[in-house]
């Protein structure tokens, strides 16, 4: 009874809240008011039901937390997926299956599916790159797209002016973007978290403004067209072949990114990043050079964005500043957070979901963004650690093994 009353109150409140925007529609030029009374009903019903679900979910979450605190460690119990992931033999099988699937993809599906998959893979790399900065080192970057732009423009411009090829620029784009990260990062990395966020957001916007205005350099808003696709020993390829080719390059790049980030994550430097995220003071007290470590995380994150930016320019063969907006940064950040900060598999899943879902849900395209926004909020409230929470590596050491063998 109390619940029903509560839900009724919630539903009334939301009817009041949404009344002007949902019910009234004014056409001032024709002097017409459209009253959409049915919307009240929908809002009322929807919020009534949702408030039940909401309360139930919150209560469950709280119960879980309480249980966790009283030592039963419910919260740390890995989710079902995670339990599966930790099963080593299954893991290898799944990995091999996945790899075969990935390699067979362009032969099984048509070119369109491959292009979509290339887009998704581009975001996988972007997500993994940002994961270094945000997920591992804990440096909030809201202007990540700037590095993506640096990579894309390095290829576009160097290709346009000097005819340099894709393979030459791929590393160059990464390095340029990396340098850019260092130059930007140097003065601002001593700022506290939220200040860093706004400054990086500012950088993201500045890059776009500069690209739009400095026409002599960047060709302004009309962009750069006819960028070469990646070449293969001067072979001429048709669309399907070159898409397949780009797809494989992208798969290679993704695998490279996964290997490198996985290795970094479990290396001396990766541990320093994570430690920095957890407690800066303890970190310096352990002899870690904060500035250097932060800068390396920032620059390395930028590196991947630069590489994949080159890829992006080569794939679309046309770039203009409109592709590098704040919204892109926000989406990449969402990939990292929704997937699970610090978790490589989580980020990959996050990218796939966020990029592929809208493609296949074209029918919902109008509601896509609103669902996206709501999902972000709900996800943060009920599963702040993301789809797959970060699993720390378990180390093997002789000592423990011997002991267990002796028993």
């Amino acid at each position: 009874m109390k619940n029903i009353k509560q839900s009724l109150a919630v539903s009334l409140w939301f009817i009041f809240l949404t009344f002007p925007l949902m019910v009234v529609k004014v056409n001032t030029s024709d002097q017409l008011v459209q009253w959409r009374w049915m919307n009240i009903l929908w809002i009322g019903l929807a919020t009534f039901v949702l408030s039940f679900v909401w309360r139930y979910a919150l209560a469950r979450k709280e119960a879980r937390q309480m249980a966790a605190q009283s030592g039963q460690d419910e919260q740390d119990k890995p989710s079902r997926i995670q339990a599966l992931l930790e099963d080593q033999s299954l893991r290898y099988k799944a990995m091999i299956a996945l790899l075969i699937f990935a390699l067979a993809f362009p032969w099984v599906f048509d070119t369109y599916q491959s292009t979509i998959m290339i887009s998704a893979l581009i975001y996988v790399v972007l997500g993994l790159g940002l994961n270094i900065t945000v997920g591992l080192a804990g440096l909030l970057d809201l202007g990540y797209v700037a590095f993506f732009a640096v990579g894309a423009y390095s290829y576009a411009l160097l290709n346009h002016h000097f005819g340099l090829g894709f393979w030459t620029i791929l590393p160059v784009g990464g390095i340029l973007s990396c340098l850019f990260g260092v130059i930007l990062g140097f003065p601002i990395l001593r700022l506290r978290g939220d200040y860093l966020a706004i400054v990086t957001l500012g950088f993201g916007m500045i890059i776009k403004v500069v690209l739009e205005n400095w026409s002599d350099f960047s060709f302004g808003p009309s962009g750069i067209a006819n960028i070469d696709k990646p070449g293969l020993f001067g072979l001429k390829m048709d669309i399907a072949a070159s898409t397949t080719y780009i797809y494989y390059i992208m798969i290679g790049l993704v695998v490279l990114t996964i290997i490198v980030t996985a290795r970094l994550k479990n290396s001396r430097i990766g541990r320093a990043w994570i430690a920095l995220r957890e407690d800066e003071i303890a970190c310096v007290a352990m002899g870690i050079d904060m500035a250097r470590t932060k800068l390396s995380a920032y620059a390395l994150g930028a590196f991947w964005a630069g590489m994949v930016g080159v890829m992006f320019a080569a794939k679309t063969t046309f770039i203009n500043p409109a592709s590098f907006t704040f919204m892109e940064s926000a989406i990449i950040l969402s990939i990292v957070v929704l997937g699970g900060m610090g978790s490589i598999l989580g980020v990959i899943l996050g990218a796939m979901i966020l990029i592929l879902l809208p493609e296949y849900l074209r029918a919902f395209s109008e509601y896509r963004m609103i669902i996206f926004g709501a999902a972000m909020v709900v996800m943060m409230i009920f599963r702040p650690q993301g789809i797959i929470s970060n699993v720390r590596q378990k180390y093997e050491f002789k000592g423990l093994k011997e002991k267990s063998e002796n028993v």
Binding site: W13, F14, L17, T18, P20, L21, M22, V24, K25, V26, T28, S29, Q31, L32, V33, N39, L58, K61, V134, L140, P187, I188, R190, L191, R192, G193, D194, Y195, A197, I198, V199, L201, G202, F203, M205, I206, V209, V210, N213, I281, F326, A330, L333, S334, V337, M341, E366, Y367, M369, I370, F372, G373, A374, A375, M376, V377, M379, M380, I381, P384
Partner: protein
């Protein structure tokens, strides 16, 4: 010289709007250290509600000042309601979560509210009626400062004074300051911290709504997207002035508005945003906590 004055007044007008919105950011940040990314959307919703109310009233035959007052009040009421609900739904459940979670939730809320307005209303630009009349006595200097600018400046000034009085002398204002300075001590003297946080969101939203209505009637159009740009700039202003500091937000807003105005007027409007953010970076490098921000020393 006249040109300078014109630019100055233009920058002041723009800056005071930034300041109104920035106050919402800064007050919320001061208390719960959250960048309320959806604050710009509250501003937009204020403007939109005012648009709808104006439209309906005009069609049903109301006139002049009565429209302005009713629309303004309803805009404030609704913005406050949205601000209050926003905090309850998207932030309160995350009070003890890791630092990034509420921020992501805020970005999500911002996207949600934008698209909610887009779907419930329209993606088009809508004509906002000029609610502020042209004053007779302003006519001789109308080319330097128009009536709407004057109204904006005066309203902002009055609002600021009211806010200062509220924060300095009223019980709830003192409770807000106490909560900002030491939240757990505030609870120990009997302050209901949750209520203070809600109140902060409500006050911030009211200020944003005032800004929204003023801007909409000044430039004559509304659209679901206006909140984002205004929000980013206002947040920049808040950081510039030292986030968490109320006078800082006002100062930051004015500095930002003036910088943009002078940069566009004397250099080039091509790089308006570059100047704005360049200034921000410069100031943060020189003073990492902003112009009036207090440097916090971490306890070891």
């Amino acid at each position: 010289m006249e040109y300078f004055i014109e630019l100055f007044l233009g920058g002041l007008t723009r800056g005071s709007i930034y300041a109104l919105i920035a106050l919402g950011y800064t007050m919320v940040y001061g208390i719960i250290q959250l960048i309320n990314f959806a604050h710009g959307e509250i501003y937009m919703i204020g403007a939109f509600v005012a648009y709808i109310v104006c439209g309906v009233l005009t069609i049903y035959g109301f006139h002049g000042v009565s429209i302005l007052i009713i629309a303004g009040l309803l805009a404030i009421v609704y913005s406050c309601a949205y601000g209050y609900t926003l905090e309850k739904v998207a932030y309160r459940p995350l009070r003890n979560a890791p630092r990034l979670s509420p921020l992501i939730s805020a970005i999500g809320m911002s996207i949600f509210l934008q698209n909610y307005v887009l779907l419930a209303q329209t993606p088009d630009f809508l004509p906002f009626p000029a609610l502020i009349p042209d004053f007779e006595f302003m006519e001789p200097i109308a080319h330097i400062i128009g009536s709407p600018e004057l109204v904006i400046l005066v309203t902002t000034l009055v609002t600021m004074i009211m806010l200062t009085v509220l924060i300095k002398y009223t019980k709830i204002g003192k409770a807000m300051r106490a909560t900002q300075q030491d939240m757990s001590m505030a609870r120990l003297v009997g302050i209901n911290v949750d209520r203070v946080i809600s109140t902060t969101f409500v006050i911030g939203s009211a200020l944003a709504a005032i800004g929204g209505v003023l801007v909409a009637s000044y430039i004559g159009q509304v659209n679901f997207y206006i909140g984002f740009i205004a929000g980013v700039k206002a947040f920049t202003a808040a950081v510039l002035g030292g986030i968490g500091s109320v006078p800082g937000a006002v100062l930051g807003g004015l500095v930002l508005g003036l910088t943009e105005s002078f940069a566009a007027g004397y250099i080039s409007s091509d790089y308006e945003d570059v100047f704005a953010f360049g200034l921000l970076v410069l100031i943060l490098i020189l003073r990492p906590s902003g112009i009036l921000g207090r440097a916090t020393k971490q306890k070891v």
